[in-house]
């Protein structure tokens, strides 16, 4: 099995190196798998230098910042593989998480698998996305709760975050990749909903916690506004409501 790890990134070179080191450590823990890491330099100033990122890292450079979706799609085209792992540069992947994700896709068939992500204080950042019927729409279930008290059993969801997302390569091609119309955010939810419409499973690996610093590259309060508008234009009324069972 061949895997391409895609890490879109802008600036924050030290964090990126740490992210890569964790990803490589996780990759080394998986048997019988070839892999490569592709970093998309999304308009960093100064540009990343491949040599500074470590050996064996492929570098794709955009001189001007592009959308997350565009960066991910470009990297996937750069190194086609049987599976892609999309990773934010502020995610420190645990080996157990990667093994769990791969195992879930092996068991459930071609589809998408996210991961349980925790913030620096061990509270949940992501363990699956559910949907409200009102203006809230999609939301991270159990966000902010101590990970130790959140059940690890549910693995099927309608959507998972793109911060750490494993997807079958053929499925990614069939879906046409991320929709590049989304400027920032919600492209991952859109991809998952489209996958569900093709009968593909959308899963979340819950067994291990992986650290996610969240929104390290862009902290603007309205950073998701344009994407959110587009998402609701396209999907309002077209996703089922599974509500907030954590209340």
């Amino acid at each position: 099995m061949d895997l391409t790890v895609v890490i879109p990134s802008v600036g924050l070179a030290a964090l990126l190196r740490t992210c890569i080191a964790h990803a490589q450590s996780a990759l080394a823990s998986v048997n019988e798998m070839t892999s490569a890491v592709v970093v998309v330099d999304n308009g960093s100033d100064p540009p990343y230098r491949a040599a500074a990122l470590g050996s064996g890292i492929a570098l794709v450079r955009f001189d001007l910042p592009r959308s997350f979706a565009k960066a991910c799609n470009e990297a996937a085209r750069h190194r086609p593989a049987a599976r892609y792992l999309f990773l934010n540069n502020d995610v420190l992947l645990e080996p157990g998480t990667l093994i769990d994700m791969l195992s879930l896709l092996d068991n459930y068939g071609p589809g998408i698998c996210g991961a349980r992500l925790v913030l620096a204080d061990d509270t949940v950042q992501h363990c699956g996305v559910r949907f409200d019927g009102g203006p809230r729409g999609p939301f991270h279930i159990h966000h902010g709760r101590p990970s130790s008290i959140v059940p690890r059993s549910p693995v099927r969801f309608q959507a998972v975050t793109g911060a750490a997302m494993l997807i079958d390569g053929a499925a990614f091609d069939r879906l046409g990749g991320f929709d590049e119309a989304y400027p920032f955010g919600y492209e991952d939810i859109d991809l998952c909903l489209r996958a569900g419409q093709l009968g593909m499973p959308v899963l979340c690996a819950q067994a291990h916690d992986t650290l996610h610093f969240e929104s390290t590259s862009n902290r603007k309060p309205n950073r998701h506004a344009a994407s959110r508008r587009l998402f609701f234009e396209r999907w309002q009324g077209r996703f089922t409501i599974d509500g907030d069972t954590s209340q």
């Binding site: 569900g196 009968g199 499973p201 089922t240 409501i241």
Partner: protein, 296 residues
Amino acid sequence: MNYYFLPGTGIHGGIKVGFQFAQMLAEHGAPMVVVTPDGRAPHWFDAAVAVISRPAALAAIRPSDVILFSLPHDYAEIRSTGARMIFHCQGTDPLIDPILADRDVALLSCWEQADSYMRERSGRPPIAVGIAISDCFIYDGRPKIADQLAYMPRRGVEIADAARLACPGLRFVAIAGASEVETAAAMQQSAYFLATSVGEWLGLPALEAMAAGCVVVSVPVLGGMEFLRDGETALVVPADRIGGALADLAQPNAASLRSRIRDNAAAITHQYRLNKQFRRLKTLLGDTLGEALSWT
């Protein structure tokens, strides 16, 4: 791929039963999508299964795919697709007879009366997949309003009106256009539920009300009599005697009868919990139901 065709997203028990069934199959690993006319999803109950529009589905369906359906009016168009077919029977309208006679259609039944009807008309046993009620209906012991009666006026409102005149001491609360959660809350608040749809193929609200701790008084129905046992889990009374039966039931000296019926009803509804049906489907998927579905 498995496509479950539904005629809309309105507040009808069959829509919810279809979505619940599709979701359970998806959770068991079957590639599954629900098809509605315009691709819109219902928002009056919780579900987590993908939805696509009918034109999109018809454009995508191949002969190796499976179409599940429950509305007999869909049969001709579905048959013309060339896909394999599964009829999920939710009512024994004689319109379903040509479907039952079609040996290319796999048959699923949800309750005993439908099962018997399908056996008789098709000459073969359907796969009994059952039905379930959502967990939000399960009574949690909160105080009830002792004189409150809930009913759904969509069918048989004249029966409810007559009962209201006969029972001035009861407060009638109509449940109409409400979400599943709102319906469950109204039922859990009410001491009684009146089912007024004469000859109903399956009165899912009566079963939900039993789970919600109501004493159910129902007109005779076709399907669901396995849980509507007169004098044991409910009172099943002809429409013209509903008012008198309710008035008697509401008397102080009928407290033990109310208590017995309510307890028996709550007990029997445990056979219809989602997790029970989920486990039943797991077993069936290892057998005939699994063979009927598409797994690619």
